[in-house]
C-alpha cells in the first residue's frame, strides 16, 4: 500500500516537473514547481523524515513559490515601465 502511494506521489512529482518546464504561462509554471515541492514533502513524511518534510513544505512549497511569484511580478512591472 505504502509502496503504491510512494510511486503515485513520485509520478505526480514527475508530471508537475515536466509541466513546469513546458508550460507557456509563467505563473502556472511557478505553481507547478510549488506542487513538486508539496508532493516531495509528503514523500519525505512517508519515508519517516518529518524534519525534512517540514522544511520542504514551509520553504520549498510556501516561501520560495511566493518569492518566485513576487520576482516575476517585479520583472514584469519594470518591463512595463521601461519599454
Amino acid at each position: 500500500m505504502e509502496t503504491i502511494m510512494i510511486i503515485l506521489l513520485a509520478l505526480v512529482m514527475l508530471a508537475a516537473a515536466l509541466a513546469t518546464i513546458h508550460m507557456k504561462n509563467m505563473i502556472s509554471a511557478i505553481l507547478a514547481a510549488g506542487v513538486v515541492s508539496l508532493f516531495a514533502s509528503v514523500l519525505y513524511l512517508l519515508m519517516a523524515a518529518p524534519d525534512v518534510a517540514m522544511t520542504e513544505a514551509a520553504i520549498g512549497a510556501g516561501l520560495s513559490t511566493v518569492i518566485f511569484l513576487l520576482a516575476f511580478k517585479k520583472t514584469r512591472d519594470e518591463e512595463v515601465e521601461n519599454g
Partner: protein, 232 residues
C-alpha cells in the same frame, strides 16, 4: 540537428550511469559507521529526544552555523539590490487595491496563532520534529499573510535588525561558551542536560534553536518585505 543528437547522447549516457548505479543497489538493513555511533550514544552524551536536532545543532553544529551565515548573506544581498530608496518610496505612492474584508479579518485572526505555532516548533526542536529553520519559516509565513491582507503593512526595521544581529551574535557566543566551558565549539553540555524529554533539557540545544528560529524568522521576513517592494 547535431546539437539535438548530442544532447540525446548525453542523456543516454547519464541514464546508463544511473542504471549501473541502481543495478547494484540494495537497501541498507542496519546503520553503519558514524550513524550507529550517534544513535547508540546520543542519549547519554547530549540528552536530546530528537536525534536529528542533536546532529544538526551539536554534532554537525558548524555546518548549521554555515547555513545561517549563507542565509544572512542572501538576505543582505536581497536588501542591497532591492531595498527601496527613500525618495523613490515617496514618489511611488499610489492607491493599492485593498484586500477584501474576509482576507483582512482572517489574516488578523490567524497571524498571531501562526507566530505562536512557529515559536512552538523551535522551542520544542529538541523534543519533536522541527526546529529553528522550520519555526522561522512558519513565522515568516505569518508575515507574508499580513502583507497579503494589508498591502501597506510596514515592518519595524529597527526592531528586526536588533533581533537579527543579537541572535546571530548570541549564537556564536553560545558556541564559544561551549568551547571554553565544555568539550568544544557549539558543545551543548555547559548547561545541565536535565531530565530526558522535558522542555528544559539537552543543555544549550533549546537556546541555540531559539536563537536560530529568531534569526531565520526575521531574515526571511526582511527578504519578503524587500522582494515585495511595490509588487504587491
Amino acid at each position: 540537428m547535431v546539437r539535438r543528437a548530442f544532447s540525446l547522447l548525453l542523456i543516454l549516457a547519464l541514464a546508463g550511469i544511473f542504471f549501473s548505479i541502481l543495478k547494484g543497489w540494495t537497501p541498507m538493513t542496519e546503520l553503519s559507521g558514524v550513524a550507529r555511533d550517534y544513535v547508540a550514544n546520543e542519549k547519554e552524551q547530549l540528552g536530546a529526544m530528537n536525534l536529528v536536532t542533536a546532529i544538526v545543532v551539536t554534532y554537525r553544529g558548524l555546518d548549521t552555523l554555515g547555513e545561517v551565515t549563507v542565509l544572512f548573506l542572501a538576505a543582505s544581498g536581497v536588501a542591497v539590490l532591492l531595498r527601496r530608496k527613500r525618495d523613490e518610496a515617496a514618489a511611488t505612492v499610489k492607491i493599492k487595491r485593498a484586500a477584501s474584508e474576509i482576507v483582512t479579518t482572517g489574516a488578523s485572526l490567524l497571524s498571531p496563532f501562526i507566530v505562536m505555532f512557529g515559536a512552538y516548533i523551535f522551542l520544542n526542536g529538541h523534543l519533536s520534529p522541527g526546529g529553528g529553520f522550520q519555526g522561522g519559516a512558519v513565522i515568516a509565513s505569518a508575515v507574508l499573510l499580513l502583507f497579503l491582507a494589508h498591502p501597506d503593512y510596514k515592518l519595524k526595521h529597527a526592531v528586526l535588525n536588533i533581533i537579527e544581529s543579537f541572535s546571530g551574535f548570541a549564537y556564536v557566543l553560545v558556541g564559544l561558551l561551549g568551547l571554553f566551558l565544555a568539550g568544544g565549539f557549539l558543545d551543548n553540555r555547559f548547561l545541565p542536560l536535565g531530565h530526558f524529554g522535558s522542555l528544559l533539557s539537552a543543555g544549550a540545544i533549546p537556546v541555540i534553536y531559539v536563537l536560530i528560529g529568531l534569526k531565520v524568522g526575521t531574515e526571511l521576513a526582511t527578504i519578503l518585505e524587500n522582494m515585495k517592494g511595490r509588487a504587491l
